[in-house]
């Protein structure tokens, strides 16, 4: 079942690629952006730089980004934990890359595709869910929908566009 806008999002505890553990709870964060993503999807890859830029731009305002890969690595080896580590080593990541090996977190968030973006406020309430912006093929859009949502949350107001349709590759569920 989907999380409703305004509802408290599920907490989780997941490992990143460098030995850390992350939770959705962080009393110090003004907002948390949870992005379900992966290594092999062209949509996730096309939006990655825009998400990384947003993570850098909002880090100074108390926003943290958590990328989560929940794909079934048995059927999609390019999404294995090892492949995730290799990617982080190779690229300039601005957010931790978490592994949801059991897919419990993806199920709890009812994530559909990669990328699927969830913006949580300081009380972990869902304020935005959907795509980073309106077109994977237009870098100039610069994750505008996500940025608008973050600006609203940080400014203490409701995002005018609280939900959009996430666009991307289906999450690869275990069979």
């Amino acid at each position: 079942m989907s999380i409703s806008i305004g509802a408290v999002a599920p907490d989780f505890e997941l490992p990143d690629t460098v030995g850390g553990t992350w939770s959705a709870n962080d009393s110090g964060a003004a907002a948390t952006v949870v992005v379900f993503t992966c290594n092999h999807c062209p949509y996730a890859l096309a939006w990655q730089d825009r998400l990384a830029d947003a993570a850098r731009d909002y880090a100074g305002r108390g926003v943290r980004f958590l990328a989560i890969n929940a794909n079934d690595a048995d059927r999609y080896p390019r999404d294995s934990f090892q492949a995730m580590k290799a990617r982080v080593d190779r690229e300039n990541w601005s957010m931790p890359y978490l592994h949801d090996a059991t897919q419990e977190v993806a199920h709890a968030y009812d994530a559909k595709v990669t990328p699927d973006v969830f913006v949580l406020d300081s009380e972990r309430r869902l304020r935005y869910r959907g795509a980073p912006d309106g077109d994977y093929d237009d870098p100039g859009q610069n994750a505008q929908w996500l940025r608008e949502a973050l600006d609203a949350v940080l400014g203490g107001s409701e995002p005018t566009r609280a939900e959009t349709k996430p666009v991307g590759c289906s999450i690869k569920w275990k069979q």
């Binding site: 890859l45 994977y136 991307g168």
Partner: protein, 114 residues
Amino acid sequence: MREPDVELLWWEGCPSTERALAAVREALTGLGLGDVEVRMREVRTDADAEQVRFVGSPTILIDGVDLVPAAGDEPIGLSCRVYRRRDGRVSPIPDPDDLREALSCTAERLEVKR
């Protein structure tokens, strides 16, 4: 003299099919080949994917040859295919110029009357 055989292999887990089909049709029309049929072939299962050596959706075959030949290490299976635009960007569909070039080459080889 015959028309090129254009086939688009797709998988329902990837949302790029319509955009890819539109790009193929646009390229065909631009080459004066707007009447050429684009055959749609759904790849439903891992077994289907194995059978046609499917490396991702969409895959566009022109006279049976992959528009963008897959690298040897591309895994076969049900997934969305990663293409590179000519400017280096990642895309779920081929670069329109690659598409146009491949279709144009085939049409010239077949001496298609446009």
